[in-house]
């Protein structure tokens, strides 16, 4: 097995430092929001998780396109890895949203357009993993996975723009809130800095996790190849 690349070692360290700093900023640098209180601090990692999820699904769609053009299996692995990470972070995004909503909207859940589209997006990519499980032939699995990841990506802009296009109570960070938005707030400079830094930290978390997941996938392939070789 290849040793861990030096760049990945540095990336692990750098990402850990960024994450710890982001946590520090959320709890000790950003001020307490005047109306919502401390639960508003969930917002920083809630949005950052959503960002990582959408970035992952975009990476999966791009990997799918490149795989279909080149036929290189490495891109299939990159797509699978990105989807797995995306599912984890969109789950965090949805669950933290529900926790925030309980004291602010007085309910854990409502079938608001943003919440509904985010849930559909999560389910679409969960189905991607199930689809792959059901196909034995690796080439066919990779081809189907690539096409599915490209088509499934339609759910990402739909989720992003749902709070801007439809009547919703979900507040938005960039742009003008809908008249019925509940729980919106004006960011102070410290809040904005914490928010941007959280986005940066989570972007590095995504890159770092993707690299690790791809390495794990390569190891899986190596084990499978060795098993096949021994069966022959």
């Amino acid at each position: 097995m290849q040793p861990k690349p030096v760049l990945l070692v540095y990336l692990d360290g750098f990402t850990t430092v960024l994450f710890v700093l982001a946590v520090g900023m959320v709890f000790f640098y950003a001020p307490t929001e005047a109306v919502m209180g401390n639960v508003q601090r969930v917002f920083y990692f809630h949005v950052a998780s959503g960002w990582v999820g959408m970035l992952s699904f975009m990476a999966a769609a791009i990997s799918g396109i490149i795989y279909l053009r080149s036929g290189k299996r490495g891109w299939d692995l990159a797509g699978l890895s990105a989807v797995e990470i995306g599912i984890v972070f969109i789950f965090i995004n949805i669950a933290t949203g529900a926790i925030w909503a309980r004291p602010i909207w007085n309910t854990w859940w409502t079938w608001d357009p943003r919440l509904t589209t985010a849930t559909i997006m999560e389910l679409i990519y969960a189905a991607y993993l199930m689809l792959r499980q059901g196909i034995e032939d690796p080439d066919r699995r990779a081809r189907f996975g690539a096409v599915y990841a490209i088509l499934g990506f339609v759910s990402v802009p739909l989720t992003f723009f749902s709070a801007r296009l439809f009547r919703t109570i979900h507040p938005i960070v960039i742009g003008t809130n809908q008249p019925g938005a509940a729980g919106d707030f004006d960011m102070t400079p410290r809040m904005a800095q914490t928010f941007m830094f959280s986005l940066l930290a989570f972007t590095f978390i995504f890159i770092d996790l993707l690299w690790h997941r791809i390495r794990l996938g390569r190891l899986e392939e190596k084990v499978e190849q060795l098993k096949l070789k021994m069966m022959v």
Partner: protein, 56 residues
């Protein structure tokens, strides 16, 4: 109208913040742990297969 409109001080929502961050850290830890376990298991399988290949 938002019921928090007339309040004088921020709402006491610390328990929800703790719940939220416990979930964030918990899920991230579980995912990292799953990556580590899968890797460890694969390395063990690989070592076993390589040993069998040598013997064959």
């Amino acid at each position: 109208m938002n019921p928090m409109f007339f309040q004088q001080a921020p709402a006491e929502t610390t328990s929800y913040m703790i719940f939220g961050y416990a979930l964030i850290f918990g899920v991230m830890f579980i995912y990292l742990f799953s990556l580590a376990v899968r890797r460890r298991n694969l390395l063990a399988t690989l070592a076993m297969l390589q040993e069998l290949e040598k013997q064959a």
